[in-house]
């Protein structure tokens, strides 16, 4: 914030205070005036936050304690939804397992992939802006339905992927129809969108002073040692940031599993991500109360996982000077 300035034009007197003689005169300082203006400009965002985010969140908290199928008004049932989800629903636990598999593989893979590509691109390529854009494109399109459909074709029985395998004499199959390989397709789809993390890594790599690498070279460090002992430690805040972001995103992943499995989570529930199962319960089976409770369990899980990463940060993240 700027320091209070003494531009006379900004000293506006409250019209009311002038008329009320027994009250002390209250002038708005330029600082207060500036704050007011700022709040005015923030209003649309606040309204959005209240009506589009906080409102529905609170509503879903209420609904999670009810039975509600949209047609009839919600009926309070206390913790029954939560009890059923956690202790009676085997499909729920399947979806949890699928989701953990998905998050557990894709977050590290995206991190490795994005850091590796960023490091290669950071070697001062002449066409860097072009490469950067190319790698970033999947991140822009990754979550879209169209791309989901495309991938489904690529990994289908008659897909391009099998055509490619055939060149090497390997027998293809419908990768998305087999429970063992289908989850990997989802992971692949996530890793494919590494561009967003990569762009952040690239920006961070350029912040590392070249003199550190020079000093390390003179100290006898090979390229790999420099990467391991300079680049990685200096990037840990960014790794941390990306890890948090990716974890939150991946837990909520929905579109790809919906498209690839045609909304079923099949084969044999092998692609039944948490959000997809939630969607099925809430919007297919019209059990909004159950869905809301699942959403809150997801929220709390994400919060605790993020918390775990934050807690671990003090052991591996290096923060500035």
């Amino acid at each position: 914030m700027s320091q209070p300035t003494s531009t006379g034009g900004l000293e506006i007197t409250h019209p009311q205070s002038k008329s009320m003689k027994n009250r002390p005169k209250r002038k708005l300082t330029p600082q207060q005036l500036e704050n007011r203006t700022a709040y005015l400009f923030l209003t649309p965002w606040f309204l959005g936050l209240i009506f589009i985010t906080i409102g529905p969140v609170l509503a879903s908290l209420y609904l999670s304690f009810t039975r509600y199928n949209i047609l009839r008004p919600p009926r309070w049932i206390g913790f029954e939804n939560y009890y059923n989800i956690l202790f009676m629903d085997r499909q729920f636990w399947t979806s949890v397992k699928v989701t953990f598999f998905y998050v557990g593989w894709s977050v590290p893979l995206v991190l490795i992939m994005s850091l590796a590509v960023a490091t290669v691109l950071n070697r001062g390529l002449a066409l860097l802006p072009i490469y950067r854009s190319i790698f970033y494109i999947p991140s822009l399109m990754g979550g879209s339905v169209g791309i989901g459909l495309l991938w489904r074709e690529v990994f289908g029985a008659q897909g391009v992927f099998n055509d490619a395998l055939a060149i090497f004499g390997m027998a293809g199959r419908s990768w998305i129809a087999i429970p063992e390989t289908a989850p990997w397709i989802l992971v692949t789809l996530n890793v494919w969108t590494f561009g967003a993390s990569m762009v952040i890594f690239l920006a961070a790599l350029r912040q590392i002073p070249a003199s550190l690498y020079e000093a390390a070279s003179i100290d006898g460090a090979s390229a790999w040692t420099r990467f391991r002992r300079i680049t990685i430690p200096m990037l840990t805040p960014i790794v941390f940031f990306n890890a948090v972001l990716l974890t939150i995103q991946s837990f909520q992943s929905f579109t790809q599993s919906y498209i690839v499995s045609g909304g079923t989570g099949g084969p044999a529930d092998s692609t039944l991500l948490y959000s997809l199962y939630l969607y099925q319960r809430a919007f297919v089976q019209l059990d909004m109360g159950y869905g809301s409770a699942m959403a809150w369990i997801l929220l709390l899980s994400i919060a605790s996982f993020t918390g775990l990463i934050f807690w671990s940060a003090k052991y591996w993240v290096f923060y500035g000077e």
Binding site: S211, E214, P233
Partner: protein
């Protein structure tokens, strides 16, 4: 321990558009402390970085310990470098910063520990070994940077303005500390600076560069006392040497007379003996150099010969306590900083007015005040002479 030899070392940037270092020839002996000095942008860092292996060599050769190392990677040159910004690893403790090179060289950890503690003791860094560089003061960081270089016991130290980020007092202290350490370790050292005091006080020899070209390499006292050209003469010394266009008269029995504008000085015979080439310059224009410290208030000396005295009006008197810097109104044409390669400077100053300033360093006892006209005694045996066309010193050897 090793010597360093530079042969026609050249660096061009931008496809040859800019020559940062031009045919540099230098030979630094084993254990020598060489200071590379020159104005900003003259190519000191570039030269040092080529020796370090951080900058590609356009042409020429660098040899360390009699091996040409042009194609040897920086990590294999067995050198240590202290950077201007220290380039300490911010995420490592002071201990790890110092141990890094030894860890990479796979020394046993007991030995690393011993070496680091030894060096930390020399540099009084022991209380800070567990801290990160960010938690240290500028002077402490500087010492860590030194320590990191020392621990490795390299064959050559390269230092690029290692003191320029320190305040004046700390700089003085570290200056002597570095010189002391180098003296103790006897490691060949190339030290880059643009500070002439560092150049004069620290090195065994000083190499002075300008515009990528070496001007003179010599001991500090020779650089000061026998500058090779007008650039060296004006760069070393503070206040700088006064350089005037002058004219030497006919040979006399006891020397010759020197005309500086409307002023006249006597050149003793002894000068012609020391500078035998000066005999070629009777009745010719030269550039005469007078160091401020070779002038004094004539009132303070009683037996100074009259013909080695000038009188001039004081424009400004700056009392520094230890002495007084006197700016004199002097009507000889000033020959400003010129060098053998930019002769245009001379013609420029020739076209100018005849009004010049001569700076003298008077003893603090002097009563001279601004506005007064004083008699100034000049130590004429210590006059310097340069060829007015080439700017090169007129000497006799």
């Amino acid at each position: 321990m090793a010597n360093v030899i530079l042969k026609d070392l050249t660096k061009r940037y931008g496809g040859g558009a800019l020559t940062a270092v031009s045919s540099l020839n230098l030979s630094i002996e084993d254990g020598e402390f060489l200071v590379l000095v020159g104005p900003s942008g003259c190519g000191k860092s570039t030269a040092l970085r080529m020796i370090a292996g951080l900058e590609e060599i356009t042409s020429g050769e660098v040899s360390i310990n009699d091996n040409v190392v042009n194609d040897v990677h920086a990590k294999d040159r067995d050198i240590a470098m202290v950077f201007q910004n220290y380039a300490l690893y911010p995420h490592m403790s002071v201990y790890d910063n110092m141990a890094f090179a030894l860890q990479i060289a796979k020394f046993p950890s007991e030995e690393i520990k011993k070496k680091v503690h030894e060096v930390a003791a020399i540099l009084q860094l022991e209380p800070f070994l567990k801290r990160r560089p960010g938690q240290l003061s500028g002077g402490q960081r500087q010492r860590v940077a030194m320590g990191r270089a020392i621990v490795r016991q390299p064959s050559v130290f390269l230092m690029d303005e290692p003191l320029s980020n320190l305040d004046a007092k700390l700089r003085v202290q570290m200056r002597s500390e570095i010189a002391r350490i180098q003296d103790r370790l006897q490691v060949t050292t190339i030290y880059v600076t643009h500070d002439q005091i560092e150049a004069m006080t620290m090195g065994d020899r000083v190499a002075l560069m300008k515009d990528g070209m070496l001007q003179q390499v010599d001991t500090p006292s020779n650089i000061y006392g026998r500058p090779a050209n007008t650039f060296v003469a004006s760069f070393i010394g503070s206040p700088a040497m006064n350089l005037f266009h002058a004219n030497i008269g006919d040979p006399l029995a006891d020397g010759a007379s020197l005309r500086l504008g409307s002023h006249q000085l006597h050149i003793p015979q002894k000068v012609f003996e020391v500078r035998s080439e000066l005999k070629e310059y009777f009745n010719r224009d030269v550039i005469a150099g007078i160091r401020p410290e070779d002038m004094d208030d004539a009132a303070l000396t009683n037996s100074h010969p009259d013909n080695e005295t000038i009188s001039a009006r004081i424009v400004l008197a700056e009392a520094l306590g230890s002495d007084i810097i006197i700016h004199l109104d002097f009507d000889a044409k000033m020959a400003e900083v010129i060098d053998p390669d930019t002769l245009s400077d001379i013609s420029k100053s020739l076209d100018g007015e005849n009004a010049g300033i001569c700076v003298a360093r008077f003893d603090a006892k002097s009563q001279a005040k601004a506005g007064e006209t004083v008699k100034v005694s000049v130590d004429c045996e210590r006059l310097h002479f340069f060829d007015s066309e080439t700017g090169l010193a007129i000497r006799g050897d």
